[in-house]
């Protein structure tokens, strides 16, 4: 298993697409900080009662949301690039224990996505706080120590999406098909669910992957397309399920399928 993880790590860091995806993620985080500068200027020009409606949190969460998509794309490419070139056969010849191969891939992409996810979410939070300085935005009055856990939880959504991408890639073997599925789960499906009649939009909206971090952290879902019906523990279980159930299915299929 150690050999397999080391080999997959070498694979991931020896192709350019990895650096492109991570660069896009980093650039977008920088863009979030620039938008925060702009919001600080807006704040300065507003009257006191309009300031009470100006929220910073949606902007702070944008980075993690985009990082989820970027790392899901990386998860997809990590396996579909092997199917596209046929290198999967070389991989399976080197590591004929297919569960070990998939676990090694999951461990590597999961770890990279967790680090990237935390860097983006925590970076967005601390960075935007630094940018607004002492301006008392209505949703930024709590201390950094108080709000930080929520962002740490949001960072864990990124590896879930990366693993989801990896599993979809194994199941579909096609880059295009997997990317479309990832984007569908990431944003199209939640938008469709939001249009459902009540109470279904609330109920199903509560189990969408993008809305789980808020429920785990015990935050509400105002101004959001997601629901907030789940207690924190259940939401955490659902989030873990999004990572592990597709991965288990992918392992089941991978072991049985001719390569």
């Amino acid at each position: 298993m150690v050999d397999a993880v080391a080999a997959e790590w070498r694979k991931l860091r020896s192709v350019r697409s990895t650096y492109w995806v991570l660069a896009v993620t980093a650039v977008f985080t920088g863009f979030v900080l620039l938008l925060a500068v702009q919001m600080a200027h807006v704040w300065d020009g507003l009257s006191a009662e309009r300031r009470a409606d100006l929220l910073l949190r949606p902007l702070q969460e944008l980075g993690g949301w985009v990082a989820s998509l970027c790392l899901a794309v990386l998860g997809v490419l990590f396996i579909t690039s092997e199917y596209r070139t046929g290198m999967i056969r070389t991989s399976l010849t080197a590591l004929p224990r297919r569960r070990t191969l998939l676990l090694a891939k999951a461990a590597v992409i999961g770890a990279v996505a967790l680090v990237a996810g935390e860097a983006v979410t925590v970076g967005s939070f601390l960075g935007t706080r630094a940018v607004i300085g002492g301006r008392p935005f209505p949703d930024q009055k709590a201390s950094i120590a108080h709000d930080l856990p929520g962002f740490l939880v949001a960072g864990t959504v990124v590896p879930v999406f990366a693993l989801l991408g990896l599993s979809l890639g194994v199941l579909l073997r096609s880059t295009a098909g997997s990317l479309v599925s990832v984007v569908f789960l990431w944003h199209v499906l939640p938008l469709l669910v939001f249009q459902l009649p009540e109470p279904w939009s609330e109920r199903i909206g509560s189990v969408m992957p993008g809305g789980l971090a808020h429920q785990i952290a015990g935050l509400g879902a105002e101004n959001s397309i997601y629901g907030d019906l789940l207690p924190s523990g259940t939401a955490a279980a659902v989030l873990i399920g999004y990572a592990l159930i597709p991965l288990g299915l992918a392992a089941f299929i991978l072991v049985r399928r001719d390569a």
Binding site: S14, S81, M87, T93, R97
Partner: protein, 305 residues
Amino acid sequence: MIEVRELTKRYGGTTAVDHLSFVVRPGTVTGFLGPNGAGKSTTMRVLLGLDKATSGAALVNGDRYTALRRPMREVGALLDAGAVQGGRRAFDHLGWLARSNGIGARRVTEVLEQVGLAGVARKRVGGFSLGMRQRLGIAAALLGDPGVLMFDEPVNGLDPDGVRWIRELMRALAADGRTVLISSHLMSEMELTADRLVIIGRGRLIADTSVRELADRFRRGVLVRSPRPAELTAALTAAGGAVEPMPDGAVTVTGLDVAAIGDMAAARGIPLYEVTSHSASLEEAYMELTADSTEFGAPLERQAS
């Protein structure tokens, strides 16, 4: 050692390999021949654990491939030289492979030198020619210094230098006592490289033989030309040969070798203008053996004879 026992592989309703059995022993280069679609690649994929056998067994050193803990140290394989990710450097490609089987980084440098790619180790594989990719694939197969080697169509698309290099490498690997299996659909190539031949068609075994045995089996007698054919025919028939007259006055003799024919003619004072041992080329032998099993062959008009 490679053992294939009663191997059958079906894909849906198509039978790719049908009760195939053969053994590949160490110290020889064994050519695995058959027309396109005969089941060579399928057999190799099953041997490497990529596809599952429908029934029967495909064993390497007595074990199923998937049971090997560090398979590259026992079996080296090249299935498709094009199956590499173009964005990765040659050095990194071999690097992850080595790492996956606990092989040291020094070995990567060694095999790159052995296949002549040391100068492009830091170049991306995407820019490699087919010949260079073929060499990279062979480097990967040699990485674990395995005792068993399998190559699927290794000379496809290579220039004459590359073909000769592969041929010499295969012979050297076998001379080390390794088991070497090379698939090909070209008999002319195997004739120069292989000691033994496993010939299959439509997934079934057609011949499991040495190159020499196959040549002997398709020996077509001795062509003899003489100004006194009737006298010659009588003498040869009396000596136990079968004589068949040819349209141009020559005769084809089977059952007697060139020396026996010459001695007899000399003893009787019959002049000979030509004595040629006439054997079918291996290529012809192969075509004849596989004539009924080419899957996508154009219909040939049978010559009236």
